[in-house]
């Protein structure tokens, strides 16, 4: 009887490991569901919205200007930030507010991206901590699942003037 129970335990452990690994591979290489918190991406993403993130683009370097990405926070590797990509490496970005009289620009270094939240008044982003390395990007958010009133693909940035001019 003990052998039966032991056999069952091992089988359960085996299934747990197997499905755990499949889930890990799915989240790491394909994508998953994420809940966002905070006001920095309003009105595009509100607090407690649930979105779908895909992790394929970052492996194939498919992240583009205007994409909303999830990245590891540069000051706390255990937490994630959710912002929009304003500039890629080599782009010229505006580091001051457009209402300032003296505008200052800088160039995004190689291997880095410049992130900004859509809610410019209430967002701690690259204007505060500078450009972040591309390697910190975890995935790209492209679809909102909840609330159902806002179901669908995500809108473009409401701050169009922040993008670099060609």
């Amino acid at each position: 009887m003990l052998r039966g129970a032991l056999g069952k335990t091992f089988r359960l452990a085996g299934y747990t490991i197997q499905y755990g690994c499949i889930a890990h591979c799915a989240f790491e290489y394909v994508g998953g569901v994420v809940m966002c918190s905070g006001p920095s991406m309003e009105p595009t993403i509100q607090n407690s919205d649930i979105v779908f993130a895909e992790n394929l683009s970052r492996h194939f370097h498919g992240i583009q200007r205007g994409d909303i990405v999830i990245a590891k926070s540069p000051s706390d590797p255990k937490s994630n930030i959710c912002k929009r990509v304003i500039g890629l490496e080599g782009d010229k970005v505006l580091t001051t507010s457009p209402s300032d009289f003296f505008k200052s620009h800088s160039y995004v270094p190689t291997g880095h991206v410049w992130l900004e939240g859509d809610n410019l008044q209430n967002s701690t982003d690259s204007r505060f901590y500078g450009p972040i390395p591309y390697g910190l990007i975890r995935g790209r958010i492209f679809f909102k699942i909840w609330p159902l009133s806002d179901f669908g693909f995500l809108r473009d940035s409401p701050n169009g003037h922040r993008f670099s001019d060609n």
Binding site: I17, Q18, G20, C21, I22, H24, C25, E28, H59, H61, A71, K72, S73, P74, S75, D76, P77, K78, P109, T110, G111, H112, I132, P133, Y134, G135, L136
Partner: protein, 192 residues
């Protein structure tokens, strides 16, 4: 005829079952527990690759140890290169967040390592050639790490693994010690 077809279907079914078990488990193991990498470049001499381009060391990379981003000064770690996200670099941790370190180079100034960052350096201070670049195509179950380039402060989020042992060539089997070169220890701050 029908008998051999039934046999093939059974074989295919059990192959698929085995495939969907072993591939995710192997991939998860290599991503989360440990993997093996060959070191290229000379900026970690003499600890790694003392023979230059003749023999490349192969190191054991331990992901499990850094899953909570816990590293000590003197550890040899691999991280995603901040300049080239498709490449991994391997360096020694010199200072942790909050440490004040004297940068060696043309500007001898003091830098305080920001929160969430670590300061890494190669052991070979005289060396300063550019990193070779590897694409993801050169990886196949193991990752190739590059040891070129200079000193830099990097975000802890880029941390990939802790290099614990040299596995190849056999005459260089050893455990990599976490020693900090004495001239690179952090400057004590006034509060202490």
């Amino acid at each position: 005829m029908a008998q051999s077809q039934g046999w093939m279907k059974k074989y295919f079914k059990s192959f698929c079952k085995g495939f969907f078990v072993t591939v995710p488990v192997a991939v998860t193991f290599l991503d989360q527990v440990a993997c093996v990498a060959r070191v290229e470049g000379a900026s970690m001499q003499p600890s790694l690759n003392p023979g230059g381009s003749q023999t490349s060391d192969v190191v054991l990379l331990n992901h499990w140890k850094v899953r909570n981003f816990q590293v000590q000064r003197g550890d040899i770690v691999s991280l995603v290169s901040p300049k080239n996200p498709g490449q991994k670099i391997i360096k020694r941790v010199i200072a942790l967040e909050g440490d004040i370190i004297r940068t060696m180079g043309h500007k001898n100034r003091y830098v305080k390592v920001p929160r969430g960052h670590i300061w890494v350096e190669g052991d070979h201070h005289g060396h300063s050639f550019d990193s070779n670049s590897f694409g993801p195509g050169s990886n196949s179950g193991s990752c190739a790490c590059d040891a070129g380039g200079r000193t830099t402060e990097v975000s802890l989020g880029l941390l990939h693994a802790h290099a614990t042992h040299i596995l190849w060539p056999p005459e260089r089997w050893q455990k990599l010690e976490s020693v900090l070169p004495p001239e690179r220890s952090p400057v004590p701050s006034e509060e202490e």
